[in-house]
Every structure is written in C-alpha cells, then in structure tokens.
C-alpha cells in the first residue's frame, strides 16, 4: 500500500483547543487541564484512506502572541492548515479570519484550509452561529466542521475530509518528499536582530 506523508499545521487563537484536537486524533485522549503549548509540538499519525496510507505530520502551533511570528515556519510547506476557533468566543472567530488572510497572502498557493469550530459540546455558551461560520467557510472554499475534542465529535472526520481534498500523488509530486524543510522561502526578507 502506498504511503503518503501529509503535512498539516494547526493555527488559531490561544485556548481554542488546537492541542486537544490533535491529542484526540493521535491518542484518542482528552485532558481538560491541558497546559498551553509552548512553541510548537510535532506529532504523527498514520491512517488508511481508500487504498493509500496517509501519514499525517502534524504541527500543533502555540496560539500565544509571542509565538505568532513563528507560524510561517510551519504553514509554509504544509499541504493543509486547520484553523481552529472556539464557538463560545466570538473574538477567536475574528482571529481565524486574520489567519485566513495571512495564509492567502503568504501561505502555499494550493494549501487546503479547514475550519474547525471547536467546543461544540458547549452549545449553551455559543457565540458564533454555525451558519455564519459555514457561509464564511464556503465563501473561501474551506472545509468546515464543528468539532468537540472533549466528546470526540467530528475529529476523525476532519482529517478524513483533508485526506479527500488533498490532490492525489500523481498530480502533485512536490508534497510527497520525505520530511519537509522548515526553512523560510528564500524570497522572504531577512531581518536581523541587532
């Protein structure tokens, strides 16, 4: 069976549940007292998709302000980006829109964007309407699901949908190399510290 490596990065505001989604997907576990990610965390998981094995190389990035500038290192070279917001916090949805904008401007041209409205188990505290988010996702041709890492809702489906959307190997050989460089694109302007 053919093995494909798919690089996926998670973006979004701090505390929306990026790490929880990854843990649920990779380990099928959930920790309500999870600590904020520091820097970025790397994990892998291999799943079968049709007659292929898809190995997800997942970069779970930190949502905190001081790590914001590191994000390009992770989304460059990614086949897909999962942007997560918290359905109970309106402002995390605004942050999501900024991420979409940034990906448009600086991300790889064919990147598959998936939008995950996490914490859908907290429907009572909802601030972002599912329809609004869905309409927005449709307008940018993004995958959209509401997820709950806590109750394991739509987590696997999210990754299956990414598998489905990513162009098959023959048409896009550039994404199938072993590993991927974190290196910045050479065109990026160099800034030095002092």
């Amino acid at each position: 069976m053919a093995l494909r490596e798919l690089k996926v990065c998670l973006l979004g505001d701090t505390g929306v549940g990026k790490s929880s989604i990854v843990w649920r997907f990779v380990e099928d576990s959930f920790d309500p007292n999870i600590n904020p990610t520091i820097g970025a965390s790397f994990m892998t998981k291999t799943v079968q998709y049709q007659n292929e094995l898809h190995k997800f190389l997942i970069w779970d990035t930190a949502g905190q302000e001081r790590f914001r500038a590191l994000a390009p290192m992770y989304y460059r070279g990614s086949a897909a980006a999962i942007i997560v917001y918290d359905i109970t916090k309106e402002e995390t949805f605004s942050t999501l829109k900024n991420w979409v904008k940034e990906l448009r401007q600086h991300g790889p041209p064919n990147i598959v964007v998936a939008i995950a409205g996490n914490k859908c188990d907290l429907n009572d505290a909802r601030e972002v309407m599912e329809k609004d988010a869905k309409d927005y996702a449709d307008s940018i041709h993004a995958v959209f699901v509401e997820t709950s890492a806590k109750n394991a809702i739509n987590i696997n489906e999210l990754f299956i949908e990414i598998s489905r959307r990513i162009p098959s190997t023959d048409t896009n050989p550039s994404t199938s190399g072993k590993g991927f460089k974190l290196r910045r694109q050479p065109s990026a302007t160099k800034r030095s510290c002092c």
Binding site: D13, T14, G15, S19, V22, W23, V26, E27, D31, N33, I34, N35, P36, T37, I38, G39, A40, S41, F42, M43, D60, A62, Q64, E65, R66, F67, R68, A69, L70, P72, M73, K89, E91, G179, K181, L182, R183, R184, K190, R191, S192, C193, C194
Partner: protein, 548 residues
C-alpha cells in the same frame, strides 16, 4: 540604552551602594582548609560543565552584575570569564537568533492599539482562559495581604507586567507608587535597594527597562530576595531576549508587556514556587540523579554520539535532577540558564506528548538571541526528559533524529532498564551515611557546580516543616555569603535542630543535626560525612562530563 545604564553604574557616586571589593578579596585569600578547588568530592575530572560555578556572587553584587562580575577568585578571573562569554556570544552571533517578524508585528500592533485603545477585553478574557490556577484576589482582600512574599514586575513607565498574586489591573496604582519611589530616589542620583519596616522587606531590583519589586515576610536576606528577583528578570529574558525587550520599550515606552508574555505567567509562578522549596537555586548548582557511574557514563556516551552539527547542549533530566549533560566543546552552560530550563520543563505538562520545538533565550549565555529547544519525554509515562538545544531553528528534523538515535543506542547498549531503575530511587536516605544525630545535609562542589542532598525525612514531613528547614539553610547561607561580613564556619543551635555550615573555596557544606548532639560530635561527624561523600561521589555527581 541598556549599555548607557551600565556605564553610568560603574561610577555610582554613592560608594555605599556598591559591595566593597576588598571584602570579597579578603575572603578568597583566606587559607583553604583541606581541599583545593577541583579536588573536592564531586569535582569533575575534565573540568566544569558550567560557566563558573561560583557565580552566586555575580548575582548578589546587585549593582550591574553584567558589567562588572565580582567573583571571589579575584577580578582578573572575572575579566577572563567575561571575555570568554563575549567570545561565546561572538561565535554564536550568526545563529538564527530571533523571532524574525516580531518587530514588524509590534509596529502593527502599536498602530492598532492607538486606533482602539479601549479594546482590552478580548485580551483580558484570553488571559483568564489560560490562567485557571491563579487566585482571583482583590487587592483589598485580607488573603492578598497574608501572602509571605509578593513579587511585582513593572515597566519604567510604571505599567504592571507581572504580579504573583492578584490581577495586575487592580494593582496598577500600587505599582505606580513603586515606580514613584524608584524615580524619586533616582532623581537624587541614588538608587533604592530596599525598605525594611514592620517585619517586611521591600526589595527593589532595577534592570532597565524593567523594575522588579518583592515584598517579603520571609527570613531571607535582602541579597537572597534580590537574587530571586533576578531569576524572574532572567525568566522574562528567556522568553523575549534582552534585545527584543529593549527594542519594544524604545519604540513605545508605555507598551503593555503582558501582551507578549500572555500565557507565560504559569512559568513565572512555577519558578517562584520552585525557588521556595528547591535548594538548587540557593546553592547556585544542579543536583544529579544518583546512579551507578557505569550506567551514567554509557548514557552520556550515547547522548554524545547522537550529535548534530547545530546542537550545542544536550541535557537528560528527571524531575529537576540532572542525569547527563553534553555540551559543545568550549561552550559552557550557566547554572541560571539550566535552572530556567528545568523550570520551563517542570511548569508545563504540554511536553508530555509529541515533540516540542520552541525558541528559548539562555540569558546568561547570550541575552540577545534565541536557541531552538527540542523538548520531549523519552516515553510518555517516564520522567526522563530530553532537552536538545540547537542553534538552527529550521533543524527540527535533524534534531528529532538525534533523539531517536539516542534512544536506539540506549537500548542497544542495554542501559535503558538500568536508567529506569535509577528513576525509582531519586533520593537516598541519610541513614546510609551512618552518622547518628545526622538529619540532613547539602553538599556543593564548587568546581563542578553540582550539589548532593539526601531525601528530607522525619521530622520534616509536612511542606511547612520542609520549608522551615530550607529557611534555616537560607539563613546560614546568607550569613556565610554576607558581602560585608562573610563567614566560613557557623554552628547554629536551635530548639529543634543544630546546624553547621562550612564554606571553603572548594565546597560548601550545610548539615542538620538533631538538637541532642553536641558541637564536638557535629565537627567530627562532618569529617566522616566528607569521607562518605568522597566514597560515593561517582554515584552522586557527574565526574566525567562529555563534550561534542
């Protein structure tokens, strides 16, 4: 800007503010009883792993430690150490040293913040979501006043950056008063160091562009409280670098730094908790996990062999105890940097899964740049954490491969099981020493920068009792290291225990005896204890550190 401040500090007109150099020299010239430095138990056979093991002094000479490091070994040594560090920084000047882009983001942010100044709520709520553990105490509440030690960090504009208890917003006026005090004294070309009143010590540490203040009711000396504040300062630098910190405040003096530090409060809180109960900070040294030297040597070799070009330090640790440390030849780690790394790892459970890759500044190594740290546990349910520090932030996969190679080698050479077994006995019992009346001790080898200490046993069972014991050690330590009147030997008789401190050029020893023993018995016991440490040194210390 920072450089200016340092230069100014060199000739502070008020001489009494600067610790008198003569006193330092006096102590260092005193005859060394018994052991010369480098031959004491625990001294590494091939030199030290750390920059300079005697650096307690460079912390406590509170006036500009970075500009003039004062080490009892004499000023020349200090100079050469300083140049060594400069060379190191030069060597690493080309490493990928910063979060490129932050500066740009910052400008953008400032423009935004001008546009919507009232837009504070999302940030506040964001912080709440991150910070579940922090008590929600108002300043007016009694509970807030009852804390043993408060720590505040503020910017020179008087803006709150961090408070250990309570919310910074509620404390902004208090911090304003603190800044007013600092500025008021500075106007007269002087510097406020501390206020002693009503059983409280209010200690100020000024590190432009930040001001750090502690309000403490503990038995610690002013020096020790100032040292803790410096740790907090270095902790902030490790997240941002001094270069970035300076640039931020040069661009906007009243910048709200909490924005960039959001989510790091837990790390700072943890550091303060750790300092209250872990003697590593007081000793300015690291503790090793006791294990058979044969096993440790093989582990170190495996770690050394799993190398990559960009790796500078590889550290294997278990619950704040050092298992092995490999460094690039000629590059030394400072114990403060090591403590900050230990604290980072112990403060977050997020490293338990996957492999973390994060920028980190080691402020005593080079306060202007970031390293990239690869942090992962060898297995999810062990306490063995591997820390690989690289100069190349793009080198994740190479470094990750080093971890895999290290694990493979450990298993191939059959030491992994032995390593896991060593984890079961992270502490030894003081009864192994075989000295009646001996309750506990701390022994530090100055040349290796390592210390050893048995498990704290009865009667120090409760957390409160443990902290009391550490408080006694703190007291002895501060008496021994008092900059104006250092002591070499102290015998302290208390109602609950007798303590003995012995500080030489080669080692420091603090021993706790039951109150029934006599002074003569204690003195002879110390010699027996030293012999025991010598006999066990290959188990308790890292005697053969490896380099790349």
């Amino acid at each position: 800007m920072a450089a200016d401040v340092h230069k100014k500090g060199g000739d502070v007109p008020n001489g009494s503010l600067v610790p008198k150099d003569g006193r330092h020299a006096e102590r260092s010239e005193s005859p060394t009883p018994g052991l010369a430095q480098g031959t004491e138990p625990g001294a590494g056979q091939e030199g030290a792993m750390f920059v300079h093991a005697q650096s307690y002094e460079d912390l406590t000479s509170t006036e500009n430690p970075d500009a003039t490091v004062q080490i009892p070994g004499g000023r020349e040594d200090a100079q050469s150490d300083q140049t060594k560090i400069e060379e190191i920084s030069k060597d690493f000047s080309k490493l990928s040293t910063q979060l490129t882009g932050i500066a740009l983001d910052l400008e953008e942010e400032m423009r935004q913040s001008k546009e919507d100044k009232q837009d504070l709520s999302p940030k506040a709520s964001r912080r709440d979501s991150v910070l579940s553990g922090k008590e929600d105490e108002g300043v007016s509440m009694d509970a807030w006043h009852m804390h043993q030690k408060h720590v505040f960090v503020l910017s020179e504009a008087g803006k709150p950056v961090y408070s250990r208890y309570g919310s910074e917003e509620a404390l902004s006026s208090t911090m304003g008063v603190m800044m007013a005090l600092v500025s008021f004294v500075e106007v007269q070309k002087n510097a406020i160091r501390s206020i002693h009143a009503d059983g409280y010590k209010v200690v100020f540490v000024r590190r432009s562009p930040l001001v750090l203040v502690a309000v403490a009711r503990t038995r610690q000396s002013e020096q020790e409280i100032a040292q803790e504040l410096l740790y907090i300062y270095y902790q902030i630098l490790s997240l941002l670098t001094l270069t970035q910190l300076n640039r931020i405040f040069q661009q906007k003096q009243n910048y709200d730094l909490r924005r960039l530090l959001a989510g790091s409060e837990r790390i700072t809180d943890n550091l303060l908790d750790l300092m209250a109960r872990d003697p590593s900070f007081l000793m300015g040294a690291a503790r090793c996990l006791p294990m058979a030297s044969g096993v440790r040597d093989i582990v170190s070799t495996c770690l050394q062999q799993a190398k990559a070009k960009s790796l500078v330090f590889a550290i294997l640790l278990a619950k704040n105890q050092l298992v092995s440390l490999v460094r690039k030849k000629d590059q030394f780690l400072h114990h403060i940097d090591l403590h900050l790394l230990f604290n980072l790892i112990s403060s977050s459970s997020s490293f338990r899964e996957g492999e973390a890759w994060t920028p980190i500044c080691l402020p005593k190594f080079n306060s202007s740049g970031f390293f990239s740290a690869h942090i992962s546990y060898l297995e999810q349910d062990t306490d063995l954490c591997l820390l690989l520090i690289s100069t190349d932030r793009e080198d994740f996969f190479t470094v990750s491969d080093c971890k895999r190679k290290f694990q493979d080698r450990l298993k191939k050479r059959g030491v992994y099981q032995a390593l896991l077994e060593a984890l079961h006995t992270p502490f030894y019992s003081v009864s192994q020493v075989g000295i009646p009346f001996l309750r506990h001790f701390i022994y530090k080898s100055k040349s290796s920068g390592l210390f050893t200490s048995p498990e704290i046993e009865a009667p120090y069972i409760t957390e409160k009792e443990k902290e009391r014991l550490l408080g006694l050690y703190q007291y002895l330590h501060s008496r021994a290291h008092n900059s104006s009147r250092p002591l070499m030997n102290i015998y302290y008789t208390g109602s609950h225990e007798n303590l003995l401190a012995w500080v030489t050029n080669a080692f420091e020893l603090y021993v706790c005896f039951s109150p029934l023993g006599t002074k003569a018995a204690a003195v002879s016991a110390v010699h027996k204890l030293m012999r025991w440490i010598r006999k066990e040194e290959d188990r308790l210390f890292i005697l053969t550190p490896q380099t790349y």
